[in-house]
Symmetry: C2
Subunit: 524 residues, 2 copies
């Protein structure tokens, strides 16, 4: 008797194409005996918006140049739009940032540090990757930050508007093309600086970390090693369980306070109930201080989901403004707010107080906009609809989020609606592997560091165990999303200082081995 | 006084676009003091037609099915035309030959032997790669011979005519796309046979050997090792000297007889002189029993050059009909003819008698056609004008061929004329490496056999020294072009029997290590 109305509601509501649409509804029934949805019903569901990496903030938070500890030149390099065919396509200008301030030169075979640019403006990544800048002088290294095609100022067809016009213009936005850009650019730089013998060390965080690891595997002749920080190269197909990501986010809250976890878990139900009442949307608009009247509860759920997921990524032990200004241990702060709210206040009031830590830590925001359109003509949305198919579920028992079962067919349908493109869900593992990774790489490849902090929800799809003597995992209990790549601070905990020291030691080992093999006398 | 007319001639004659055009002319002056051509003059030269692999014979010599020691099914698989973009392109049907006759099945994790199809009809390669068929039962292996896109029956756009219509239709004929085809097909087969855990061993000869080696390096998660026979992966840029190929061909003749070498070396001069006389072309037509009147001496030079180069490739110790019916040790036979011709006979008569061993061993040819158009709309010509840029020169002192200096600018100009495409001469080494190969792969990668015979002119661009414990070179003094991949015969010399035994032992090692690492109990 309960199942029927639910399915009817689902059928009705799939007309409205909102990815989060059904989550509150499904949660509504979650206190009832476990409801096993049929495949049919599961397929009718709209798909859950994938959590994103942090690249989107690159456009929002342009770096402020003052006080920055690094200097670079901005240059452009002419790239082929398609490296893997000989179609008659226009070239495009790839931006890269370069500093030779500390480079000891080609005569001494001094290293080149090359950061694999992510899904966003490269200046933002450069300003948030202090580690590379800080260690460059010690290695006498050149520093290069190339921008990923289709992001920032590296736009094919001359402008963002033209590059993002349609699926045809977007079709060359792929990881393989980006890696080939890096390879071609590096060869150009090596020739240009007579630096053919200079060892290249790759760096990258998040998607950039995936690129760094893949680049070392695919282009070992171009780079001698890679530090891949928070790189979820196993977040594809069924390599890791699809509920991994949201379980880690949930655990990050639960470890701070079981009450906080429970309040959030309850809140989805409350939200839905409120939204169904007369004037409910208006009251939610008021409770959450929204700038415009809420049209759908799901927009609000989406906004909250984003906050929790991002908080888990940047749950750093010191104040940061990577995405927005945040206190140290921000999840602890959020939970403190939620838990300490006066007795008698509603769940939703608590939730609002909590997420205000994320959305309004400075207290300067008058009202909130729930933009973050998961269907926007955004580069990462395109990548998520073509190659980067990362199945995500939310488990009824272990997650604080609404229950959600991953449905590829819904995902595919949404991608078709958004971009008129058909995803290739098996392509990443075909091209880069992932299944059985430790066995495959045990006797193949070398010089990769997979660094991860276990608070980071992306750590679940990363490599957390040593693969071989030279493909190693550095795991910290308390780390969040690629914290090791950030600039050092006076507040760095010991484990972070030690993690970075290990990384430096490993990289020194790669470079020294390289020199020894080439019987060079230069030593660092 | 001599230089001027030469340059004038060159300028005048570059109007006629024949790649071999100037070689006899240049040779005409080679008995004078060494003539150092200016860069200008060098650039005016038409470029030397690159020697080819044997794939072209795949179309000419369709295999005869009778007596064949192997059986297979022919199947087709739907492939993306462009694996590296999301352009809206038609798929195409890739042909592959498959035999599960000896396969011990997925339960026993029995191996899959996968031959990386070359530039030609796959049936021809299957019938000329007896080694794989012969050892499959011993390994309990499935055998798969996939066809390379744009060859045989694996035509994009539905037909050869449409696939070869223009540069746009040809633009997806690249090695990277072919490797991705193999990767996608292998994953499909593994799923289809529930064979995800079955180890794949790659095989390939010549260009197919290059593909096998590159595939192991790029897709280690898909195949556990590769036997790359006669795979000149170093024949790019300046990795090996450009005169390597023609020096090896020349030495193959010189080691049989210095007189033979000298006669051939003299003959180019004679040809040119004869061609310049009144009725000279007519007399050459008669001497060489051509079906049609010779129009240009260069067509004849080209025809002879081809014969010598191919003879060096298939200089096998027993009779073969890989390309055409030939005796064992065919270069010895050619030289015997050339050397033993009655005193008083002309150089050109001797040459004709010699090459008749190659072109007319069965004695059934009445007259000869000099087709072999180096500008033809042929797949390999396209590949040679896009990615496969292998610089070739002919040295005045060490080669028996007319002196020729490689000129990239001429090469590029010819490619533009032929295909309206701009070559990417640095792309192969960017994508696959090659420079400093031993140092790069010493600590990266595993399980590749580079097998070569030193009589093979392509061995000069191959890997002839061990790289590491598991990337090894098997070199035979007396071997020619991928002889190890051919079916065994009663006439196999000991060194060939031993070479194949070494290969089997190494492959067994890969497979057994694979099983041990997965703690499987299945043993061969």
């Amino acid at each position: 008797m309960i199942v029927l109305p639910l399915i009817l509601r689902i059928k009705e509501m799939t007309e409205i194409r909102i990815r989060f649409l059904l989550l509150p509804l499904l949660f509504f029934y979650s206190s009832l005996p476990p409801l096993k949805l049929t495949t049919e019903a599961a397929e009718l569901r709209s798909f859950k918006s994938n959590p994103r990496f942090l690249g989107k903030f690159a456009e929002l938070n342009k770096p402020q140049k003052r006080d920055q500890a690094f200097r670079y030149e901005t240059r452009y390099f002419t790239q082929s739009l398609d490296h893997f065919s000989f179609s008659d396509l226009p070239t495009f200008q790839q931006r890269y940032l370069i500093s030779t301030d500390h480079w000891l030169g080609s005569d001494r075979m001094a290293p080149i540090f090359f950061y694999c640019g992510n899904e966003g403006d490269i200046e933002w990544f450069a300003s948030n990757t202090g580690f590379v800048w800080e260690i460059a002088p010690r290695f006498g290294a050149m520093v290069v930050f190339p921008e990923h095609r289709y992001y920032g100022k590296s736009m094919p067809y001359g402008s963002r508007e033209k590059a993002y016009k349609d699926p045809a213009s977007l079709s060359y936005l792929t990881a393989e093309q980006a890696l080939a850009d890096f390879a071609v650019l590096l060869n150009h730089l090596k020739r240009n600086f007579s630096a053919q013998a200079c060892p290249v060390v790759l760096f990258g965080g998040s998607y950039g970390g995936m690129l760094a690891a893949w680049m070392r595997l695919k282009y070992p002749h171009i780079a001698i090693g890679a530090l891949a920080s928070s790189a979820p190269i196993l977040q594809f197909e069924n390599i890791v369980p699809p509920d991994t990501f949201y379980n880690i986010v949930s655990n990050d809250f639960k470890r701070e306070s079981i009450g906080c976890f429970n309040t959030i878990k309850e809140s989805w139900n409350e939200l839905t109930a409120e939204g169904q009442k007369d004037d409910g949307l208006l009251r939610l608009t008021s409770t959450f201080r929204l700038c415009r009247k809420l049209k759908r509860v799901e927009d609000l759920s989406n906004w909250l989901d984003s906050a929790y997921s991002y908080l888990a990524m940047v749950n750093y032990p010191y104040p940061s403004s990577f995405m927005m200004p945040l206190p140290g241990h921000p999840i602890k702060e959020v939970c403190r707010k939620i838990d300490s709210y006066p007795d008698g206040s509603s769940v939703l009031e608590r939730i609002f107080a909590g997420v205000s830590i994320y959305y309004n830590y400075t207290g300067t925001v008058d009202c909130f906009n729930l933009e973050d359109d998961p269907h926007g003509m955004d580069g990462w949305n395109w990548q998520a609809c073509t190659e980067m198919i990362m199945p995500m579920s939310s488990d009824q028992h272990t997650s604080m989020f609404p229950t959600y079962d991953y449905s590829y067919s819904s995902y595919q349908a949404e991608c078709w609606e958004d971009f008129h493109v058909k995803p290739r869900p098996r392509w990443i593992t075909t091209e880069f592997g992932g299944h059985d990774l430790r066995a495959v790489l045990k006797t193949f490849g070398s010089n990769i560091i997979f660094s991860n902090g276990l608070l980071d929800p992306w750590s679940g799809g990363s490599v957390l165990q040593n693969v071989s003597e030279t493909i190693v995992a550095l795991v910290t209990e308390e780390g969040a999303h690629h914290i090791d790549l950030r600039a050092s601070t006076d507040e760095d905990p010991d484990w972070l200082v030690e993690q970075r020291a290990s990384e430096i030691k490993l990289i020194e080992g790669w470079v020294n081995n390289y020199y020894q093999e080439r019987t060079a006398t230069f030593s660092i």
